[in-house]
Symmetry: C2
C-alpha cells in the first residue's frame, strides 16, 4: 500500500541527528525483549519469530518518523517534560501495528511477496519446502501452515502494540487519550480492510462513497492521523488542537491514497515504477472506478475491468474512457480538495502552534502536491 | 476445545447471587459500547458485528466465572478496597480473549460449526450465500470472505481485551501486573496454537513432550492460570502467592486437557457425547499418541491413525494397541500426577489464604478427579 511513499519528516530532524537510527535502536530493543520472553518456547517458534523480525526490518518507518519528527518540532524549546522517551516508544508501537496489519493483509490477499522480496508468509513457505517452492503453485497444506503463522505473528504484534500503549510511563489521563486514539485507529483500520476485502470479493456493492471511505479508513487513519495525533497528545496539546491535527492527518492520508490510485491509473509507469494497469487488471475498486460506474461509459469499461489478461491496448482504451467519463478530472479535483482542506486546517492552528510546526505540516502538504510517482 | 467442560465455580457464589447474570450484564455493556463506537461504519460492518455478538453469546463463561468466583472467595470478609468492579471487567475481558481465540482457531481449522451450531464464520458464509450454502462445498470466494471476517473480528476482540486491561481503574503497579499476566497468556496461547497447527500439518515433528507442551500452552494458561492469577492480583495477594496460584492453574489446566484426550480415546462415547475415535480419525497429536510413537506398537497403530474413514473395528484395534503399549496407563498416571501436584500446591497456600479459598480450589481438583465425561 505504501509503495513509493515519498513523504518524509526527516527534514525536520535537527542537523546531525539521525532519527532513523534512534527508531531502529528502539525497534531492535523491542524485538530483543519479545525474543527474550519467548526464549523457552523451543526452536520451531523461535525460528518463526526470527523470520518475522527479519521480514519486517528495513521498512521506511513512515509512521514513527512522522510521529517523532512532529513531536520534536512541537516541543522544540519547551521547558519541562517533553515526553521524548514515551514518544519514541509510541513511535515504535505504530511500526509494530503496521507490521501486524501488513502480515494479516498478506494472509487475506494470499500474497507471498512485498516489493519484489518474499514476505513473512513467503519465507515460512520456502523454509517448509525449499526444494519445491514456487509462488505459482505452493502445496496447499504448506500454504496453510504459512498463513496460520501469519495470523499468529500478526496477533503477536497487535498485542505488543497494545502493551506499549498500556505501559507507557505517563500520567494515566494522558495514557487514556493515547488508548482512545489506538482504539479509534484499530476500528477504522479493520473496517477499512473489511471494506477492501468486501469490495474486491463483491460481498459489498461497489460505489464511489464506499471506495472513498475505504481509502480513509484503511490508510489515512493509521498512517497519517495516528502519528500526528499521538505527537500532539505527547507534546501536551489540548484535545481541541489534537482533534484539529487529526483532521489534517485524515485529509493528508486520503489525498495520499487517492493520489496513489490516480498515479497508478494515469501516471507514467516509468515514474511510479508499478506495473501499468495493474489496478485495472486486479479490479481494484478505487474512487476512479466508483465514479465511472455511475456514468454511461461504464458498460464499455466493465468489459475488460478486472481482466487478468488485460492487454496494453485494452488498458489504454479503458484509460481513455476514464478520462472521457470525467473520472480523471474528478480524481484530480478530489486530491486537490483534500490538500486545500489540509492547508486551511493548518492555518486554523497558527494561533496554537509554533511556526516550525506549521511549516513542517505545510511542507508535507506541498510534498504530496508535487508528487508525480 | 472446552466441549463438555464441567468445571464450575458457581458453587462458590453466595446463595441468591447469580454470578452469570452479573457477567452477562457486563458483557452486554461491553458489546453495546463496541457497537456504539462502530455506529458510523455503515450497515455492512454493523451487520458483521451483530453476527459476531450473536455467535459468541451463550458460552459457558468458564473463565470469567472462575475468576470472579475465586476473587469473591479470596476477598470475603475483607475490609477496604476489594476491586470488585475491576474484577468484573477483567473477568469479561477473559471472555473477549476467548472469543478472539475461538474465531481465529476456527479460521485456521476451517471449521464452520461449533457444538453443532453454525459458528461466526458459518453464519457469515450463510448470509453471503443463503441459497447454495453447504458446509461440504462452500464457494471458495465466499469462504475467503467469511474467513477474512473471522480474522478481523478476532482482532477486534483481541484489541478490546487489551483495552480493558490497559484502562482498568487500579493503581498503575497493579495494572502492570495484570498486563504482565496478559502478555504471558498471549504468548503461551499463540505458541500453543502454533504447535497445534504445526503438529497436525506435520510441520513440527510429533513427540510426547511437544504434545504435552501444546496442551499446557494452548489450554491450561488462558483457561486456568489466567483467571486464577488475575483473581489473586485483584485480591491483593503477593507476587509469590500469585505465582503459586498460577502453578495450580497450570496443573489443573494440563490435567483437564489430558483428561479430555483420555476420555475421548478411552471413555464411553455415550458418556462424553463425542464421536468415538474422532481424535484417531483426525490424527490428533495427543500425549497418548506421543507415548505410543516411541513404542514398538507404533508401526501397527500408524496404519490407520489419521485415517478419515476409520471403521469401528479398526478404531477398537488401535485402542487395544494403545492399552497394550502402555499409553493408556501413562495417560491416566499423568493426569493423576498433575492433580496430585495441584493438591500439594494448594496445601502450600494454607498459611496465606483463607479456608474457603483452599476448599474452593480443592473442590475444583476433586471435580476433575471425578470427571467421567
Amino acid at each position: 500500500m505504501d509503495n513509493g511513499m515519498t513523504l518524509t519528516t526527516e527534514q525536520s530532524a535537527p542537523p546531525g541527528f539521525d532519527v532513523n537510527e534512534e527508531i531502529y535502536r528502539e525497534l531492535n530493543r523491542t524485538f530483543s525483549s519479545l525474543s527474550d520472553r519467548c526464549r523457552d518456547y523451543g526452536p520451531d517458534f523461535r525460528s518463526c519469530l526470527d523470520t518475522a523480525f527479519q521480514a519486517l526490518r528495513g521498512g521506511k518507518l513512515i509512521r514513527p518518523r512522522m510521529l517523532l519528527g512532529t513531536h520534536r518540532t512541537m516541543t522544540k524549546g519547551a521547558t519541562g517534560r517533553t515526553n521524548h522517551d514515551a514518544a519514541l516508544q509510541i513511535a515504535v508501537a505504530t511500526e509494530l501495528l503496521h507490521f501486524s496489519f501488513l502480515v494479516h493483509d498478506d494472509v487475506i490477499d494470499g500474497d507471498l511477496y512485498r516489493r519484489g522480496k518474499l514476505n513473512f508468509i513467503g519465507q515460512i513457505l520456502k523454509q517448509r519446502d525449499p526444494d519445491n517452492f514456487s509462488d505459482r503453485g505452493p502445496d496447499p497444506e504448506h500454504l496453510h501452515w504459512a498463513c496460520s503463522n501469519g495470523i499468529l505473528i500478526g496477533n503477536l504484534f497487535l498485542a505488543a502494540t497494545h502493551q506499549v500503549f498500556a505501559r507507557v510511563d505517563l500520567p494515566h489521563p494522558v495514557r487514556l487519550r493515547l488508548l482512545d486514539l489506538l482504539e479509534h485507529t484499530m476500528n477504522d483500520s479493520l473496517v477499512g480492510e473489511f471494506l477492501d476485502v468486501g469490495l474486491s470479493s463483491r460481498a459489498i456493492t461497489p460505489d464511489i462513497s464506499t471506495a472513498l471511505e475505504m481509502s480513509r479508513l484503511k490508510t489515512a487513519t493509521y498512517t497519517f492521523e495516528l502519528p500526528l495525533r499521538a505527537a500532539a497528545i505527547l507534546a501536551g496539546l489540548s484535545e481541541e488542537d489534537e482533534r484539529r491535527v487529526g483532521v489534517i492527518g485524515t485529509h493528508l492520508g486520503t489525498a495520499y491514497q487517492l493520489q496513489d490510485d490516480y498515479l497508478s491509473t494515469f501516471g507514467e509507469a516509468a515514474e511510479h515504477g508499478k506495473d501499468s494497469f495493474s489496478d485495472l487488471r486486479e479490479g481494484k475498486e478505487t474512487t476512479i472506478i466508483g465514479f465511472a460506474r455511475a456514468t454511461r461509459y461504464w458498460k464499455d469499461i466493465e468489459v475488460n475491468f478486472n481482466n487478468a489478461d488485460l492487454t496494453t491496448e485494452q488498458g489504454e482504451h479503458i484509460r481513455d474512457l476514464l478520462i472521457r467519463c470525467g473520472a480523471e478530472e474528478y480524481s484530480r479535483d478530489t486530491v486537490r480538495h483534500h490538500l486545500d482542506t489540509c492547508r486551511a486546517s493548518i492555518e486554523e492552528l497558527r494561533s496554537s502552534l509554533n511556526r516550525e510546526v506549521i511549516d513542517l505540516l505545510l511542507t508535507q502538504v506541498d510534498q504530496l502536491d508535487n508528487r508525480r510517482s
